[in-house]
Amino acid sequence: MKKLIKYCGISVILFYIAVLSGCATTAVKVFETNESQVKLRSMQTRAFDTIDKQKMMQTVISTMQDLEFVIDKADLTLGSISGSKFLGYAVVTMTVNVRPRSEKQLLVRANAQYGIESVEDVATYQDFFTALEKAIFLTAQQVD
């Protein structure tokens, strides 16, 4: 009997630990990224020598459509475009932001998610900007 109570006690404690640690970690995970903020920003951002925001956004939309994205949201004032595409069973969502950088340049930032994971791969973003460059006939410049 004593043994049984002991085991029950231990399992209750283990259960509490599991529940409590579960709560703590998932809430913290909301802002979790693997890469540093600076590195992430640099791989997701490029500058272009144009100030035509509308044309840039239309080109971003065309590029995303060529990449099989369906555009879900777009807003000229905010300069944001969101789209999604299906890869097998996974959903890829991407948001692209266009904003002025100076009087001569626009800044384009793309961030993609694959399922529940953020895409933090340099080559993947480079692919997108290469496609965008070709569509708008301008060079994508790395931003420090």
Partner: protein
Amino acid sequence: MKKKHLFLKLFFTFLCLGIIGCASIPKGFLKPNEASLEKRQLQMRQYETTDEEQILTAVAGVLQDLGFNLDDSETKLGFVAASKKADATNTGQVFLLAFLGGANAVANADSSQVVKASVITKPSIDGKKIAVRVTFQRIVWNMNGQINRVESINDAEIYQKFYDSLSKAIFLEAHKI
């Protein structure tokens, strides 16, 4: 001896967890492939007009004619998004599942779907035409309410039907690009 066994088991469990954690995002999914030009031809038409607003109004009207509800739009970018819930029951599939797995398996058959449409209009490079590009996606649920399938729709007939309705709506002949 038993302790060693337990240790090995634990070791393998963690190894498996580690591997699952690493099984990650495929590369190159933001690279244009050869199929994209074909898809563009399927999804895109040009109209000989410069009145983008008229085209966009017609697009919204046609989507509603086809039973879609408008979800979002941004006129300045020539953008309209809409969605529609529809039945996805396929008698053949239900029969096959019933034949192979009985009543429990039937619940796995396609039951309902949500079709999403997204339309973009844009002036052509010479500024004399308006290009319209529509893309369709669908999510299919089974009778248990679980997602069976997610896919882009690449059926030429569906795109043709959309543009037939649109052409009628704007009384203009659609020119294939």
